[in-house]
Amino acid sequence: MAPIKNIERKLPFRRKRVAVIGAGLTKFMSRAKETGRELAWEAAKMALDSAGMTLKDIETSTMGTAPDAFDGVHMKGEWLADGCGAFNKPYMRSYVGGGTGVFAPIQGWWHIASGMFDTCLVTCEEKMSSCKPHPQAAFNTIFDNMIERQLGPNLIWIFALEMNRYMHKHGITKEQIALVSVKNKKNAIDHPSAQLGKKITVEQVLKSPVLAWPVQLLDISPASDGAGSVILASEDVAYKYTDNPVWLDGVGWNLDTTYWTNRDLYYPEYVERAAKMAYNMAGIKDPKKEISFAEPYDPFDYKELHHMEGLQLCGKGEAAKLTEEGVTQRDGKMPICPSGGLLGVGNPISAAGLMKICELFWQLRGEAGKRQVPNASVGVAQAWGDLMQVGTVAVMRK
Protein backbone atom coordinates (compact mmCIF):
# COMPACT_ATOMS: atom_id res chain seq x y z
CA MET A 1 0.00 0.00 0.00
CA ALA A 2 1.36 3.43 -0.89
CA PRO A 3 2.39 5.44 2.20
CA ILE A 4 -0.35 7.51 3.84
CA LYS A 5 0.86 11.05 3.63
CA ASN A 6 -0.53 13.94 5.62
CA ILE A 7 -2.82 11.82 7.79
CA GLU A 8 -0.91 12.74 10.91
CA ARG A 9 -0.58 16.38 9.96
CA LYS A 10 -2.35 18.69 12.35
CA LEU A 11 -5.03 20.84 10.84
CA PRO A 12 -3.56 24.29 11.37
CA PHE A 13 -6.53 26.44 10.48
CA ARG A 14 -8.75 27.70 13.23
CA ARG A 15 -12.01 25.94 12.84
CA LYS A 16 -15.41 26.18 14.48
CA ARG A 17 -16.78 23.14 16.23
CA VAL A 18 -19.76 21.81 14.27
CA ALA A 19 -22.93 20.48 15.91
CA VAL A 20 -25.75 18.38 14.53
CA ILE A 21 -28.95 19.83 15.98
CA GLY A 22 -31.80 18.22 14.05
CA ALA A 23 -32.55 15.21 11.86
CA GLY A 24 -35.36 13.91 9.67
CA LEU A 25 -35.75 10.70 7.67
CA THR A 26 -38.60 9.56 5.42
CA LYS A 27 -39.59 5.92 5.12
CA PHE A 28 -37.37 3.98 2.74
CA MET A 29 -39.74 2.41 0.22
CA SER A 30 -39.71 0.29 -2.96
CA ARG A 31 -41.66 2.97 -4.71
CA ALA A 32 -42.85 6.31 -3.38
CA LYS A 33 -45.73 8.35 -4.66
CA GLU A 34 -43.77 11.56 -4.03
CA THR A 35 -41.46 13.02 -6.63
CA GLY A 36 -37.82 13.32 -5.61
CA ARG A 37 -38.36 16.97 -4.85
CA GLU A 38 -41.26 16.20 -2.51
CA LEU A 39 -39.25 13.48 -0.75
CA ALA A 40 -36.38 15.90 -0.17
CA TRP A 41 -38.74 18.48 1.28
CA GLU A 42 -40.41 15.94 3.60
CA ALA A 43 -37.05 14.99 5.11
CA ALA A 44 -35.87 18.60 5.34
CA LYS A 45 -39.15 19.71 6.92
CA MET A 46 -38.97 16.99 9.55
CA ALA A 47 -35.39 17.97 10.36
CA LEU A 48 -36.34 21.62 10.75
CA ASP A 49 -39.38 20.74 12.87
CA SER A 50 -37.25 18.52 15.10
CA ALA A 51 -35.02 21.52 15.91
CA GLY A 52 -37.88 23.99 16.17
CA MET A 53 -36.44 25.93 13.21
CA THR A 54 -37.85 27.41 10.02
CA LEU A 55 -36.17 27.84 6.67
CA LYS A 56 -35.37 31.44 7.60
CA ASP A 57 -32.87 30.13 10.17
CA ILE A 58 -30.91 28.30 7.48
CA GLU A 59 -28.02 30.10 5.77
CA THR A 60 -26.84 27.50 3.28
CA SER A 61 -27.85 24.15 1.89
CA THR A 62 -25.80 21.15 0.76
CA MET A 63 -27.19 18.20 -1.07
CA GLY A 64 -26.23 14.74 -2.15
CA THR A 65 -27.96 12.83 -4.90
CA ALA A 66 -27.09 10.45 -7.73
CA PRO A 67 -26.74 11.63 -11.32
CA ASP A 68 -29.33 11.96 -14.02
CA ALA A 69 -29.04 8.41 -15.34
CA PHE A 70 -30.82 7.07 -12.28
CA ASP A 71 -33.83 9.31 -12.14
CA GLY A 72 -33.98 10.54 -15.70
CA VAL A 73 -34.00 14.13 -14.46
CA HIS A 74 -31.36 16.44 -15.87
CA MET A 75 -29.36 18.70 -13.56
CA LYS A 76 -30.83 16.82 -10.66
CA GLY A 77 -29.14 18.88 -7.97
CA GLU A 78 -30.74 21.99 -9.37
CA TRP A 79 -34.10 20.30 -9.77
CA LEU A 80 -34.07 19.22 -6.15
CA ALA A 81 -32.79 22.54 -4.86
CA ASP A 82 -36.07 23.98 -3.65
CA GLY A 83 -36.88 20.77 -1.78
CA CYS A 84 -33.56 21.18 0.00
CA GLY A 85 -34.38 24.69 1.11
CA ALA A 86 -31.81 26.12 -1.28
CA PHE A 87 -34.09 28.67 -2.90
CA ASN A 88 -32.11 31.90 -3.23
CA LYS A 89 -29.26 30.55 -1.10
CA PRO A 90 -25.67 29.45 -1.68
CA TYR A 91 -25.98 25.77 -2.55
CA MET A 92 -23.70 22.89 -3.33
CA ARG A 93 -24.49 19.40 -4.53
CA SER A 94 -22.16 16.45 -4.81
CA TYR A 95 -22.15 12.77 -5.58
CA VAL A 96 -19.63 10.09 -4.68
CA GLY A 97 -21.77 7.02 -5.20
CA GLY A 98 -23.00 5.44 -2.01
CA GLY A 99 -20.43 7.51 -0.12
CA THR A 100 -22.62 10.54 -0.66
CA GLY A 101 -24.76 10.02 2.45
CA VAL A 102 -21.77 10.79 4.66
CA PHE A 103 -20.07 13.10 2.14
CA ALA A 104 -22.94 15.62 2.01
CA PRO A 105 -22.70 16.22 5.80
CA ILE A 106 -18.91 16.50 5.37
CA GLN A 107 -19.56 19.21 2.79
CA GLY A 108 -21.87 20.86 5.28
CA TRP A 109 -19.16 20.47 7.91
CA TRP A 110 -16.63 22.59 6.05
CA HIS A 111 -19.23 25.26 5.32
CA ILE A 112 -19.55 25.73 9.08
CA ALA A 113 -16.06 24.82 10.32
CA SER A 114 -14.62 27.48 8.05
CA GLY A 115 -16.66 30.10 9.85
CA MET A 116 -18.40 31.09 6.63
CA PHE A 117 -21.88 30.06 7.79
CA ASP A 118 -23.58 29.39 11.11
CA THR A 119 -26.31 27.00 9.97
CA CYS A 120 -26.52 24.47 7.15
CA LEU A 121 -29.30 22.17 6.00
CA VAL A 122 -27.92 18.92 4.59
CA THR A 123 -30.25 16.76 2.51
CA CYS A 124 -29.80 13.53 0.59
CA GLU A 125 -32.43 12.00 -1.67
CA GLU A 126 -32.85 9.14 -4.09
CA LYS A 127 -35.77 7.87 -6.13
CA MET A 128 -34.58 4.69 -7.76
CA SER A 129 -38.02 3.38 -8.70
CA SER A 130 -38.09 5.64 -11.79
CA CYS A 131 -35.35 3.66 -13.49
CA LYS A 132 -36.52 0.75 -15.65
CA PRO A 133 -36.16 -2.13 -16.18
CA HIS A 134 -34.08 -2.01 -13.00
CA PRO A 135 -31.69 0.61 -11.57
CA GLN A 136 -28.89 -1.91 -12.02
CA ALA A 137 -29.10 -1.31 -15.75
CA ALA A 138 -28.06 2.31 -15.15
CA PHE A 139 -25.12 1.01 -13.14
CA ASN A 140 -23.87 -0.58 -16.34
CA THR A 141 -22.05 2.71 -16.86
CA ILE A 142 -19.80 1.99 -13.89
CA PHE A 143 -17.86 -0.46 -16.00
CA ASP A 144 -15.20 0.76 -18.40
CA ASN A 145 -16.90 1.85 -21.59
CA MET A 146 -14.14 0.52 -23.85
CA ILE A 147 -12.98 -2.75 -22.38
CA GLU A 148 -15.55 -3.96 -19.87
CA ARG A 149 -19.15 -3.17 -20.85
CA GLN A 150 -18.83 -5.33 -23.93
CA LEU A 151 -18.68 -8.38 -21.62
CA GLY A 152 -22.30 -7.78 -20.49
CA PRO A 153 -21.51 -7.24 -16.82
CA ASN A 154 -23.97 -6.60 -14.02
CA LEU A 155 -23.19 -4.38 -11.04
CA ILE A 156 -23.50 -7.34 -8.70
CA TRP A 157 -20.47 -8.94 -10.35
CA ILE A 158 -18.16 -6.47 -8.69
CA PHE A 159 -19.57 -7.23 -5.25
CA ALA A 160 -19.42 -10.95 -5.92
CA LEU A 161 -15.79 -10.65 -7.03
CA GLU A 162 -14.91 -8.68 -3.91
CA MET A 163 -16.87 -10.98 -1.59
CA ASN A 164 -15.20 -14.04 -3.11
CA ARG A 165 -11.74 -12.55 -2.64
CA TYR A 166 -12.50 -11.54 0.96
CA MET A 167 -13.82 -15.02 1.78
CA HIS A 168 -10.85 -16.68 0.13
CA LYS A 169 -8.23 -14.49 1.80
CA HIS A 170 -9.50 -15.03 5.33
CA GLY A 171 -11.22 -18.41 5.00
CA ILE A 172 -14.59 -16.93 5.90
CA THR A 173 -17.75 -18.89 5.09
CA LYS A 174 -21.10 -17.80 3.70
CA GLU A 175 -22.74 -18.92 6.97
CA GLN A 176 -20.63 -16.47 8.94
CA ILE A 177 -21.42 -13.64 6.54
CA ALA A 178 -25.15 -14.40 6.53
CA LEU A 179 -25.23 -13.64 10.28
CA VAL A 180 -24.87 -9.95 9.38
CA SER A 181 -27.99 -10.01 7.20
CA VAL A 182 -29.91 -11.78 9.99
CA LYS A 183 -28.72 -9.24 12.61
CA ASN A 184 -29.41 -6.13 10.57
CA LYS A 185 -32.82 -7.12 9.28
CA LYS A 186 -33.80 -7.93 12.87
CA ASN A 187 -32.46 -4.61 14.15
CA ALA A 188 -34.47 -2.81 11.48
CA ILE A 189 -37.77 -4.05 12.90
CA ASP A 190 -37.39 -1.24 15.44
CA HIS A 191 -36.71 1.48 12.86
CA PRO A 192 -39.75 3.54 11.77
CA SER A 193 -38.28 4.11 8.29
CA ALA A 194 -37.41 0.48 7.62
CA GLN A 195 -38.32 -1.17 4.33
CA LEU A 196 -37.22 -4.70 5.19
CA GLY A 197 -37.23 -5.17 8.95
CA LYS A 198 -37.83 -8.87 9.46
CA LYS A 199 -36.69 -11.92 11.43
CA ILE A 200 -34.86 -14.25 9.06
CA THR A 201 -32.47 -17.15 9.58
CA VAL A 202 -29.04 -18.01 8.18
CA GLU A 203 -30.68 -20.94 6.41
CA GLN A 204 -33.09 -18.63 4.60
CA VAL A 205 -30.19 -16.49 3.41
CA LEU A 206 -28.31 -19.54 2.11
CA LYS A 207 -31.43 -20.88 0.37
CA SER A 208 -32.32 -17.57 -1.30
CA PRO A 209 -31.85 -17.37 -5.09
CA VAL A 210 -28.26 -17.10 -6.29
CA LEU A 211 -27.85 -13.93 -8.34
CA ALA A 212 -24.11 -14.03 -8.96
CA TRP A 213 -22.33 -16.53 -6.77
CA PRO A 214 -21.31 -15.99 -4.01
CA VAL A 215 -24.00 -13.28 -3.80
CA GLN A 216 -27.54 -14.45 -3.04
CA LEU A 217 -30.74 -12.42 -2.84
CA LEU A 218 -30.85 -12.10 0.96
CA ASP A 219 -27.23 -10.94 1.05
CA ILE A 220 -28.29 -7.67 -0.58
CA SER A 221 -30.08 -4.48 0.41
CA PRO A 222 -33.01 -3.39 -1.79
CA ALA A 223 -33.15 -0.47 -4.23
CA SER A 224 -35.23 2.21 -2.53
CA ASP A 225 -36.83 5.62 -2.68
CA GLY A 226 -36.18 7.84 0.32
CA ALA A 227 -34.63 10.99 1.71
CA GLY A 228 -32.91 12.17 4.87
CA SER A 229 -31.83 15.49 6.26
CA VAL A 230 -29.73 16.87 9.13
CA ILE A 231 -29.15 20.38 10.38
CA LEU A 232 -25.63 21.52 11.20
CA ALA A 233 -24.85 24.54 13.33
CA SER A 234 -21.68 26.18 14.54
CA GLU A 235 -20.76 26.13 18.22
CA ASP A 236 -21.66 29.84 18.33
CA VAL A 237 -25.38 29.24 17.72
CA ALA A 238 -26.06 25.56 18.47
CA TYR A 239 -27.37 26.14 21.99
CA LYS A 240 -29.81 28.70 20.68
CA TYR A 241 -31.74 25.84 19.09
CA THR A 242 -31.16 22.86 21.37
CA ASP A 243 -29.87 21.86 24.82
CA ASN A 244 -28.54 18.68 23.39
CA PRO A 245 -26.31 19.16 20.35
CA VAL A 246 -24.27 16.25 19.01
CA TRP A 247 -20.78 17.23 17.84
CA LEU A 248 -19.47 16.30 14.40
CA ASP A 249 -15.86 16.21 15.51
CA GLY A 250 -14.11 14.20 12.83
CA VAL A 251 -14.51 13.91 9.08
CA GLY A 252 -12.50 11.97 6.54
CA TRP A 253 -12.81 11.09 2.89
CA ASN A 254 -10.60 9.21 0.46
CA LEU A 255 -10.75 7.88 -3.07
CA ASP A 256 -8.91 4.95 -4.63
CA THR A 257 -8.21 4.33 -8.32
CA THR A 258 -10.81 3.38 -10.91
CA TYR A 259 -8.43 0.64 -12.07
CA TRP A 260 -10.21 -1.74 -9.73
CA THR A 261 -8.78 -4.85 -11.39
CA ASN A 262 -5.32 -3.73 -10.27
CA ARG A 263 -6.23 -3.73 -6.58
CA ASP A 264 -6.58 -6.58 -4.14
CA LEU A 265 -10.21 -6.20 -3.24
CA TYR A 266 -10.03 -8.10 0.05
CA TYR A 267 -9.32 -4.95 2.07
CA PRO A 268 -10.64 -1.37 1.64
CA GLU A 269 -7.52 0.76 2.01
CA TYR A 270 -9.46 3.90 1.15
CA VAL A 271 -11.79 3.33 4.14
CA GLU A 272 -8.74 3.03 6.39
CA ARG A 273 -7.34 6.31 5.09
CA ALA A 274 -10.66 8.14 5.45
CA ALA A 275 -11.11 6.68 8.94
CA LYS A 276 -7.63 7.71 10.08
CA MET A 277 -8.26 11.22 8.79
CA ALA A 278 -11.51 11.43 10.79
CA TYR A 279 -10.07 9.82 13.93
CA ASN A 280 -7.07 12.13 13.85
CA MET A 281 -9.31 15.16 13.64
CA ALA A 282 -11.55 13.91 16.45
CA GLY A 283 -8.60 13.04 18.67
CA ILE A 284 -9.37 9.31 18.66
CA LYS A 285 -6.18 7.32 19.19
CA ASP A 286 -7.55 3.83 19.79
CA PRO A 287 -10.84 3.33 17.93
CA LYS A 288 -11.32 -0.21 19.29
CA LYS A 289 -11.53 1.24 22.79
CA GLU A 290 -12.92 4.73 22.22
CA ILE A 291 -15.73 4.12 19.72
CA SER A 292 -18.95 3.04 21.51
CA PHE A 293 -20.84 1.92 18.40
CA ALA A 294 -20.53 2.12 14.62
CA GLU A 295 -22.62 2.36 11.50
CA PRO A 296 -20.43 1.05 8.67
CA TYR A 297 -21.92 0.86 5.20
CA ASP A 298 -23.67 -2.46 4.57
CA PRO A 299 -25.23 -2.65 1.08
CA PHE A 300 -24.25 -6.33 1.16
CA ASP A 301 -23.75 -8.37 4.32
CA TYR A 302 -20.05 -9.05 3.75
CA LYS A 303 -19.49 -5.30 3.35
CA GLU A 304 -20.22 -4.69 7.03
CA LEU A 305 -17.35 -6.99 7.93
CA HIS A 306 -15.11 -5.52 5.23
CA HIS A 307 -15.73 -2.01 6.50
CA MET A 308 -15.40 -2.85 10.20
CA GLU A 309 -11.83 -3.85 9.38
CA GLY A 310 -11.24 -0.72 7.26
CA LEU A 311 -12.55 1.40 10.13
CA GLN A 312 -9.87 -0.14 12.40
CA LEU A 313 -12.53 -1.52 14.74
CA CYS A 314 -10.87 -4.94 14.55
CA GLY A 315 -7.95 -6.59 12.78
CA LYS A 316 -8.05 -7.85 9.18
CA GLY A 317 -10.16 -10.99 8.92
CA GLU A 318 -11.47 -10.71 12.51
CA ALA A 319 -14.87 -9.15 11.88
CA ALA A 320 -16.68 -12.41 11.09
CA LYS A 321 -15.60 -13.97 14.38
CA LEU A 322 -16.76 -10.95 16.37
CA THR A 323 -20.14 -11.20 14.66
CA GLU A 324 -20.39 -14.90 15.53
CA GLU A 325 -19.59 -14.11 19.14
CA GLY A 326 -22.40 -11.56 19.37
CA VAL A 327 -20.02 -8.65 19.97
CA THR A 328 -21.75 -6.60 17.25
CA GLN A 329 -25.31 -7.03 18.56
CA ARG A 330 -27.01 -4.01 20.14
CA ASP A 331 -26.24 -5.31 23.61
CA GLY A 332 -22.74 -6.44 22.66
CA LYS A 333 -19.42 -4.78 23.39
CA MET A 334 -19.24 -3.04 19.98
CA PRO A 335 -22.74 -2.61 18.50
CA ILE A 336 -22.59 -2.44 14.70
CA CYS A 337 -25.51 -1.09 12.65
CA PRO A 338 -27.99 -0.82 15.53
CA SER A 339 -30.26 0.98 13.04
CA GLY A 340 -30.66 -2.13 10.93
CA GLY A 341 -28.35 -0.74 8.27
CA LEU A 342 -29.02 -0.74 4.56
CA LEU A 343 -29.86 -4.43 4.70
CA GLY A 344 -32.83 -3.76 6.94
CA VAL A 345 -33.79 -0.13 6.51
CA GLY A 346 -33.20 0.17 2.76
CA ASN A 347 -30.77 1.60 0.22
CA PRO A 348 -31.72 4.79 -1.61
CA ILE A 349 -28.19 5.31 -2.85
CA SER A 350 -27.34 8.81 -1.64
CA ALA A 351 -29.69 8.87 1.35
CA ALA A 352 -28.59 5.58 2.90
CA GLY A 353 -25.41 6.99 4.41
CA LEU A 354 -27.36 9.92 5.80
CA MET A 355 -29.65 7.44 7.56
CA LYS A 356 -26.53 6.36 9.46
CA ILE A 357 -25.70 9.95 10.41
CA CYS A 358 -29.29 10.33 11.67
CA GLU A 359 -28.83 7.12 13.67
CA LEU A 360 -25.69 8.45 15.31
CA PHE A 361 -27.58 11.64 16.16
CA TRP A 362 -30.52 9.85 17.76
CA GLN A 363 -28.36 7.29 19.58
CA LEU A 364 -26.06 9.93 21.08
CA ARG A 365 -29.05 11.93 22.30
CA GLY A 366 -30.68 8.86 23.83
CA GLU A 367 -33.60 9.19 21.37
CA ALA A 368 -33.23 5.90 19.51
CA GLY A 369 -36.15 4.23 21.32
CA LYS A 370 -36.07 0.42 21.05
CA ARG A 371 -32.81 0.64 19.07
CA GLN A 372 -31.00 2.49 21.87
CA VAL A 373 -27.50 1.27 22.54
CA PRO A 374 -26.48 1.59 26.21
CA ASN A 375 -23.75 4.15 27.06
CA ALA A 376 -23.51 5.63 23.57
CA SER A 377 -20.91 8.39 23.77
CA VAL A 378 -18.86 8.31 20.54
CA GLY A 379 -20.09 6.91 17.24
CA VAL A 380 -18.62 6.50 13.76
CA ALA A 381 -20.62 6.40 10.53
CA GLN A 382 -19.10 5.36 7.24
CA ALA A 383 -20.37 5.26 3.70
CA TRP A 384 -18.83 3.75 0.59
CA GLY A 385 -19.39 3.76 -3.11
CA ASP A 386 -18.30 4.19 -6.71
CA LEU A 387 -16.18 1.45 -8.21
CA MET A 388 -15.17 -0.02 -4.82
CA GLN A 389 -13.40 3.30 -4.39
CA VAL A 390 -14.61 5.86 -1.94
CA GLY A 391 -14.60 5.94 1.83
CA THR A 392 -16.37 8.72 3.71
CA VAL A 393 -16.26 8.72 7.49
CA ALA A 394 -17.78 10.87 10.23
CA VAL A 395 -17.12 10.71 13.97
CA MET A 396 -19.75 12.16 16.28
CA ARG A 397 -19.81 12.51 20.02
CA LYS A 398 -22.14 13.72 22.77
Binding site: P133, A137, N140, N164, A212
Partner: protein
Protein backbone atom coordinates in the same frame (compact mmCIF):
# COMPACT_ATOMS: atom_id res chain seq x y z
CA UNK B 1 -44.65 16.34 22.10
CA UNK B 2 -47.06 13.70 20.81
CA UNK B 3 -48.93 16.30 18.76
CA UNK B 4 -45.65 17.30 17.15
CA UNK B 5 -44.89 13.66 16.40
CA UNK B 6 -48.11 13.02 14.51
CA UNK B 7 -47.59 16.29 12.64
CA UNK B 8 -44.23 14.96 11.59
CA UNK B 9 -45.52 11.52 10.65
CA UNK B 10 -47.38 12.88 7.66
CA UNK B 11 -44.00 13.72 6.10
CA UNK B 12 -42.67 10.18 6.27
CA UNK B 13 -43.50 9.46 2.62
CA UNK B 14 -46.25 7.55 0.80
CA UNK B 15 -45.22 3.99 -0.13
CA UNK B 16 -46.93 2.45 -3.16
CA UNK B 17 -47.54 -1.22 -3.84
CA UNK B 18 -46.29 -2.81 -7.06
CA UNK B 19 -49.87 -3.03 -8.30
CA UNK B 20 -50.29 0.77 -8.31
CA UNK B 21 -47.63 0.94 -10.98
CA UNK B 22 -49.70 -1.42 -13.08
CA UNK B 23 -53.38 -0.75 -12.43
CA UNK B 24 -53.66 2.95 -13.27
CA UNK B 25 -54.34 4.12 -9.72
CA UNK B 26 -51.27 6.34 -9.96
CA UNK B 27 -50.66 8.41 -13.09
CA UNK B 28 -47.30 7.48 -14.57
CA UNK B 29 -45.32 9.15 -17.31
CA UNK B 30 -42.93 7.08 -19.35
CA UNK B 31 -39.87 8.28 -21.19
CA UNK B 32 -37.15 6.54 -23.13
CA UNK B 33 -34.03 8.64 -23.52
CA UNK B 34 -32.22 8.44 -26.80
CA UNK B 35 -28.69 8.33 -25.57
CA UNK B 36 -25.97 6.98 -27.75
CA UNK B 37 -22.28 7.58 -27.34
CA UNK B 38 -19.24 7.37 -29.53
CA UNK B 39 -16.19 7.42 -27.33
CA UNK B 40 -12.77 8.30 -28.60
CA UNK B 41 -10.41 5.59 -27.36
CA UNK B 42 -7.57 8.00 -26.85
CA UNK B 43 -3.95 7.28 -27.64
CA UNK B 44 -3.47 4.43 -25.24
CA UNK B 45 -6.63 2.32 -25.15
CA UNK B 46 -6.85 2.67 -28.93
CA UNK B 47 -3.47 1.01 -29.28
CA UNK B 48 -4.38 -1.68 -26.73
CA UNK B 49 -7.48 -2.58 -28.74
CA UNK B 50 -5.55 -2.60 -32.02
CA UNK B 51 -3.04 -4.99 -30.49
CA UNK B 52 -5.91 -7.26 -29.46
CA UNK B 53 -6.91 -7.33 -33.12
CA UNK B 54 -3.39 -8.51 -33.88
CA UNK B 55 -3.79 -11.25 -31.26
CA UNK B 56 -1.52 -9.67 -28.67
CA UNK B 57 -1.90 -8.21 -25.20
CA UNK B 58 0.02 -4.95 -24.79
CA UNK B 59 0.89 -3.41 -21.43
CA UNK B 60 2.66 -0.15 -20.54
CA UNK B 61 5.47 0.37 -18.04
CA UNK B 62 5.96 2.96 -15.35
CA UNK B 63 9.71 3.06 -14.75
CA UNK B 64 9.64 5.15 -11.58
CA UNK B 65 7.08 2.94 -9.85
CA UNK B 66 8.51 -0.22 -11.45
CA UNK B 67 5.07 -1.39 -12.51
CA UNK B 68 3.90 -3.02 -15.73
CA UNK B 69 0.35 -1.85 -16.16
CA UNK B 70 -2.62 -3.48 -17.73
CA UNK B 71 -5.09 -1.99 -18.66
CA UNK B 72 -2.50 0.39 -20.13
CA UNK B 73 -2.86 4.10 -19.40
CA UNK B 74 -1.39 7.41 -20.49
CA UNK B 75 -0.08 8.37 -17.10
CA UNK B 76 0.67 6.64 -13.83
CA UNK B 77 -1.93 7.46 -11.21
CA UNK B 78 0.62 7.10 -8.41
CA UNK B 79 3.56 9.21 -9.62
CA UNK B 80 1.68 11.14 -12.35
CA UNK B 81 4.41 10.69 -14.99
CA UNK B 82 3.62 10.23 -18.67
CA UNK B 83 3.98 6.59 -19.77
CA UNK B 84 5.32 5.64 -23.18
CA UNK B 85 7.11 2.32 -22.74
CA UNK B 86 4.98 -0.42 -24.29
CA UNK B 87 5.65 -4.10 -23.78
CA UNK B 88 3.89 -7.28 -24.90
CA UNK B 89 2.80 -9.67 -22.17
CA UNK B 90 1.75 -13.29 -22.43
CA UNK B 91 -1.90 -14.16 -22.75
CA UNK B 92 -1.81 -16.33 -19.63
CA UNK B 93 -2.63 -15.45 -16.05
CA UNK B 94 -4.17 -16.51 -12.75
CA UNK B 95 -7.70 -16.13 -11.45
CA UNK B 96 -7.59 -13.42 -8.75
CA UNK B 97 -11.31 -13.71 -8.01
CA UNK B 98 -14.40 -14.88 -9.88
CA UNK B 99 -18.20 -14.71 -9.97
CA UNK B 100 -20.80 -17.15 -11.30
CA UNK B 101 -23.53 -14.91 -12.65
CA UNK B 102 -27.12 -15.97 -13.18
CA UNK B 103 -28.31 -12.50 -14.18
CA UNK B 104 -27.83 -10.26 -17.19
CA UNK B 105 -26.98 -6.54 -17.12
CA UNK B 106 -30.59 -5.57 -16.53
CA UNK B 107 -31.06 -8.17 -13.76
CA UNK B 108 -33.12 -10.55 -15.98
CA UNK B 109 -32.22 -14.23 -15.46
CA UNK B 110 -29.69 -15.90 -17.78
CA UNK B 111 -30.43 -19.29 -19.34
CA UNK B 112 -26.88 -20.46 -18.70
CA UNK B 113 -24.68 -19.04 -15.94
CA UNK B 114 -21.73 -16.91 -17.04
CA UNK B 115 -18.42 -16.99 -15.20
CA UNK B 116 -16.49 -13.72 -15.00
CA UNK B 117 -13.15 -13.23 -13.33
CA UNK B 118 -10.46 -10.71 -12.52
CA UNK B 119 -7.43 -12.31 -14.17
CA UNK B 120 -3.94 -11.29 -13.05
CA UNK B 121 -2.01 -11.30 -16.33
CA UNK B 122 1.42 -12.96 -16.16
CA UNK B 123 4.31 -10.55 -16.47
CA UNK B 124 2.25 -7.56 -15.35
CA UNK B 125 1.23 -5.91 -12.10
CA UNK B 126 -2.36 -5.73 -13.08
CA UNK B 127 -5.39 -7.62 -14.12
CA UNK B 128 -8.41 -7.32 -16.32
CA UNK B 129 -12.04 -8.32 -16.12
CA UNK B 130 -12.91 -11.09 -18.54
CA UNK B 131 -14.94 -14.28 -18.89
CA UNK B 132 -13.95 -17.86 -18.10
CA UNK B 133 -14.92 -20.66 -20.45
CA UNK B 134 -14.47 -24.38 -21.02
CA UNK B 135 -14.75 -24.91 -17.28
CA UNK B 136 -17.42 -26.14 -14.90
CA UNK B 137 -18.51 -23.50 -12.37
CA UNK B 138 -17.80 -25.95 -9.53
CA UNK B 139 -14.21 -26.38 -10.67
CA UNK B 140 -13.20 -22.73 -10.69
CA UNK B 141 -10.66 -21.85 -8.00
CA UNK B 142 -8.92 -18.64 -7.02
CA UNK B 143 -5.30 -19.02 -8.09
CA UNK B 144 -6.16 -21.23 -11.09
CA UNK B 145 -3.91 -20.80 -14.15
CA UNK B 146 -5.73 -19.72 -17.30
CA UNK B 147 -4.99 -18.86 -20.92
CA UNK B 148 -6.81 -16.68 -23.43
CA UNK B 149 -8.85 -18.29 -26.19
CA UNK B 150 -8.88 -15.92 -29.15
CA UNK B 151 -11.31 -15.43 -32.02
CA UNK B 152 -9.83 -16.19 -35.43
CA UNK B 153 -7.90 -13.32 -37.04
CA UNK B 154 -10.76 -12.72 -39.46
CA UNK B 155 -13.26 -12.30 -36.64
CA UNK B 156 -11.13 -10.00 -34.51
CA UNK B 157 -12.15 -6.35 -34.70
CA UNK B 158 -10.10 -4.51 -32.12
CA UNK B 159 -12.45 -5.11 -29.17
CA UNK B 160 -12.07 -6.71 -25.75
CA UNK B 161 -14.21 -9.56 -27.07
CA UNK B 162 -11.46 -10.48 -29.54
CA UNK B 163 -10.54 -12.71 -26.64
CA UNK B 164 -13.52 -15.07 -26.37
CA UNK B 165 -12.70 -16.14 -22.80
CA UNK B 166 -9.89 -17.55 -20.67
CA UNK B 167 -9.72 -21.29 -20.14
CA UNK B 168 -7.95 -23.27 -17.42
CA UNK B 169 -4.56 -24.76 -18.25
CA UNK B 170 -3.05 -27.40 -16.03
CA UNK B 171 -0.14 -26.75 -13.71
Amino acid sequence: MSAKKSETEKFMGTPLEKESFEDGSVILTEWEPKLWYSWSTGKVVGKFLSELKAGKIAAIKCDSCKRTLIPPRMFCEICFSELKDWVYVKDTGKVNTFVISKIATDRSPLKEPKIAAVIDIDGSDGGILHMLGEVNPDDVKIGMKVQAVWKSQYERRGEITDIKYFKPIGD
